[in-house]
Subunit: 365 residues, 4 copies
């Protein structure tokens, strides 16, 4: 399936940037999980653009839960969430209606949908759909929290500037989640913001790396071969527009290490098996080992820039120049981190339900 | 599903390192594709260890096709391939039967299977299973070749030494496929081999990066969101033991670029839309744009090393030291590249069959 | 997945009887298919209760298309449809809130969802969800019509009274589709209505058999073994509440025939291979043979009756008596037929897209 | 997927009637389940033809377990089973190589596979593949037995003669399982055999109805809508060649009842909720209610008969007459019942693993 993902717990997305709504159906989550609309709204706020480093299109993200919640708790049946598109200015996009925006899906969507695609604002390929993921993911995050499982993401790098490394995972997750701009070191955060503003001033954009950690996740979860934890998480993560790389633990850096350095030595600690280092990101042979799950995602620079770009008119099949107007983000990495957390949470809920049963996440189990 | 992957074209794996056989069932491939047993054997040879830079356990990989081939061609129904394990010396592993080998799945398999797992030689988590993938993938590669689609992988980096960059994709694919040790620059190849031998002499191991290119793949393939080409390929790739990172196009390097540099400008070339650069790896918005598909995989150093390692006895729950004996690879990256090609080919066949129908890969269509 | 079905073309359902809306997400349908809101409304009208033989709860079924339609045509991306519940009188159900209604899912939903289920009016297990299927199915029916494929269902039996047999399939499909109460013989229709009214007068209900025919469907579609046409269609059909039996062609009657009678002889007719009889319902070995696909569904009597019934209070775990009030159908078979048509159409679109590619149903292909 | 079924526990089939082997890969079954090769062999014997009422082609069904079993117990990883075809006389089929056998998949396989299909003996569409299901199913049956869940099937009807009804479900299951020819009433069994022999003498064949019961299955299992217990079981059951109808509980007979008769009244019995009758076959709203699961399958008469039949030559596209030689069954219903039990067991294991987790079926849990 295309816009659906997951087995025991699954999510289905719908919507277009300039259509009437975007939304998600979250199915299979255990019953009895409290649905905190304030938390959903707060998560949507993290994704919503704000200030000089974001687009000026600001949606209020007034979500509506259409099903699956009764007396403030999940019922166990599908939770449908709809988020109307309110601040749509389609006129801004008319000029580019036949020009392929480089780095966007305009041209490939045209190849696939033969001209019937809703091209306005990227249509179904817009980052706007991630709002629906964030709303659904907020409920998944609450479900995990009920089991002592915490997910958090910091901006590991932006425009080539690197945040400090993760140290105390649980504290760093809490710290990242408390921040609007999720950089653990405040001075580095300021430097990054400055770079984003510089890029914006140049009509350009920047990218970065998001690093995510999951604390409290049980060991022994994941399936051999094709449903390794890495496989399933990367499948979901690469769906997020702009993500072009995913690595677990030390990832690409492992390629330059020797085995004696890359291997995480096991040891006993207070009666539990732990590893001294966590270069594997908490996963051996595709199965969780009880250490924090850690992974990073490469986020490419926002493709919408104000600099004039060479491109083609894909209806006339001729070369053209593109000068974007409208409202665009000079960076989306600070907005993307809550998307990563949300999708990660949904995938982890699925893994837990598959491994331990569909009631596992129910409070009190 | 765990050991199955794919929708229209799927593969199912089975086997253990020291069991009677490993194997694969390749289902849904179009009928009429020639099955060239010589090519299958040649591909298996590429995966088979050889010389000083590989383990001394050498299997002949005498494969047997149990079904799905009639008069030398695929029938369209499941192709089952069994590869007996012949050179099994289980005794070598008895000593480690209760010690978790760092970097291996021994401990996590134990957590998941509660002691019933076949722990000999890594059991089901052994790289040995990839032999079955290679046999099945050889048929998928033939099917793609019939459509003018070529897949090839070179060792982009090993032990921190980098091969030259890809230039003429089709020629480089052909060159890589003709090599036993798939490094495009012969001098660099020699330097890499030297590093592997050094690591071997130290009782240690090295990792690297594999870069894969696909030429001739049609545009407009891939599905929105969860079945983006990146999502589906990464799902498969992360199943391969030792792969801890996957990136498309320039991947993590995109995180340090500005949008104006990262965006691939479109232009007309001989009546076709192409991009001047290919930083996106041939994929925009999850859908192929007609440029070569390019991606890289981080391969961690082989976890089996001869250096003494700290670990735990996971039955007694106490600290221990591990000194591996037996036969182990100081590097597997040169053997892994054919595994990447094979799995990539199977996934691409699935994408094509989903997009254009189950007869698409049949010769003469 | 639970509330999702299909691979290339899939549908996801959500909603509860007394929640704010029911809805469906139809994903993967080819682009360019005209979306005729009048036809959707007409199909919903066929499902809507009317007159003495139906419940007095009448919803206007004002559907809203939230995504996937642009300029009146499908875009190829998910079509989300929401149908608000307007005429909700939850008070009617308060009395039965702890009593298991026999034949309903109250008790089993409680076992599965541990009391968190929305029990009002059957919640997610209500036939109300089929309105969403009908809306989505209307678009699928239009897609099929564009390829000359027609689906229709008549009430083969109701309360033990049987309609005439199908004779000219295409004409009978058209005739059934033109009827509100889909019985091909008008006198038999009147007799059935009388039986339904009698049952209603007795505070009781009746069931029946629906027979569905599909004309114009291409041969060679369906997959071996687990994705036989029968397997996939029955999977979908048994999801419809009240369906307790499914048979293809002559189905259970074949069990009393000899092979010489049951086998459909092949013969040439105007250069095409046809079968003289169609006892197999157009399917041999799970694959369509070009004859009309014919199947029947057993519809149990509506479980909501006004007669006092013995049951249990499943919270107190004690015996109880149940006297239903509210608004209930003495028969649903006349409303269910459009649900069968709708779901059948979605499944057939999926089969065609899997077999011939995702563009197959696009007009002009 | 085509030849794979199931999510947490899945089975993949391969093979052709006259190829080198048929086989199955059973994946995801819990670890620690004893694998009793004697029981597997005994189950295969039930499926194997014997005596005057079966084909004279008798395979020894020497199965080989290639993986997934260690120290006599399941490991939790894929169990591959191969059953060589030994008694292959392909010559017998050469005459029919271009004539479509009525009731068989010859013609439809040709439409789908364009002449590349292995047509010998029905190829992949042969009932021979069910031997592999029986071997895999035997392990699933053992797993269920470990949880006190028993599956059994009797020949409810053959050639229009009906067995007595099920009374004491557990005893009847045990009785059916102890019989070679699974008819509960010995006199009726003799009458049925006589009818089969008569049909054989006439060069003809007969069909029948199989009724299956499952005792001890937990309540609260099954998923709403598309993964109702009926949906998932029927999907699997309709894969079995020759099955053309499936009904749960009273099935088609419900269509003639009134609601007051069809509804199963709930009542308390020894502190448990039971139903007085079991017309719903243990399933309400797609979820098990704790009563025995009961369903019936219509088995069409064996299509291979010795009477001369009209057909077409589908290569020449002309009318023809077919006189089958070779070895054929005048009835397969007595052989099919163990296939139904086997596939049912696999599906139930999957449902339990999805509902209660992948360790649920492990002994001692």
């Amino acid at each position: 399936m295309k816009n659906s993902f997951g087995q025991s717990v699954s999510v289905t997305l719908f919507g277009e940037s300039h259509g009437s709504a975007v939304g998600a159906v979250l199915d299979g989550l255990a019953p009895g999980i409290e649905v905190d609309c304030g938390f959903i709204a707060a998560q949507l706020t993290k994704r919503r653009p704000a200030g000089k480093i974001s687009t000026q299109r600001v949606e209020q993200d007034r979500f509506e839960i259409l099903s699956g919640v009764f007396n403030g708790k999940t019922t166990g049946t599908p939770i449908a969430i709809s988020i109307p598109n309110e601040n749509v200015r389609s006129g801004d996009y008319s000029e580019v209606s036949r020009l392929a925006r480089p780095g966007h899906a305009d041209y490939t969507a045209h190849l696939k949908y033969h001209g019937f695609e809703d091209f306005r604002g990227g249509g179904h390929f817009s980052g706007r759909l991630t709002a629906a993921l964030v709303a659904a993911g907020a409920i998944a995050l609450s479900a995990l929290k009920g089991k002592g499982i915490y997910v958090g993401t910091h901006i590991k790098a932006c425009a080539g500037i690197y945040d400090r490394e993760l140290s105390d995972i649980e504290a760093d997750i809490a710290a990242a989640n408390a921040l609007d701009f999720a950089v653990l070191d405040g001075e580095i955060a300021a430097a990054m913001r400055e770079e984003i503003e510089k890029a914006a001033a140049d009509g350009d954009s920047v990218g970065g790396i998001l690093e995510t950690a999951v604390a409290g996740f049980p060991p022994g979860v994941g399936e051999p071969f094709f449903d390794s934890v890495e496989s399933v998480l990367s499948h979901a993560l690469f769906s997020i527009p702009a993500i072009k790389g995913v690595q677990f633990g030390d990832g690409f850096a492992l390629s330059e290490m020797r085995g004696s350095e890359a291997n995480d030595a096991f040891e006993m600690s207070e009666g539990r098996v732990i590893t001294k280092t966590n270069r594997a990101g908490g996963i051996n042979g595709g199965i969780t080992n009880g250490m924090p799950i850690v992974f990073s995602c490469a986020v490419k620079p926002t493709p919408s820039i104000f600099k004039t770009q060479k491109t083609v008119d894909y209806l006339k099949n001729e070369n053209a120049e593109l000068s974007l107007k409208g409202r665009h983000d000079p960076a989306i990495i600070h907005r993307a981190r809550v998307v990563v957390d949300s999708l990660t949470a949904i995938v982890l809920c699925d893994m837990l339900a598959q491994r331990f049963g569909t009631d596992y996440l129910m409070p009190g189990r």
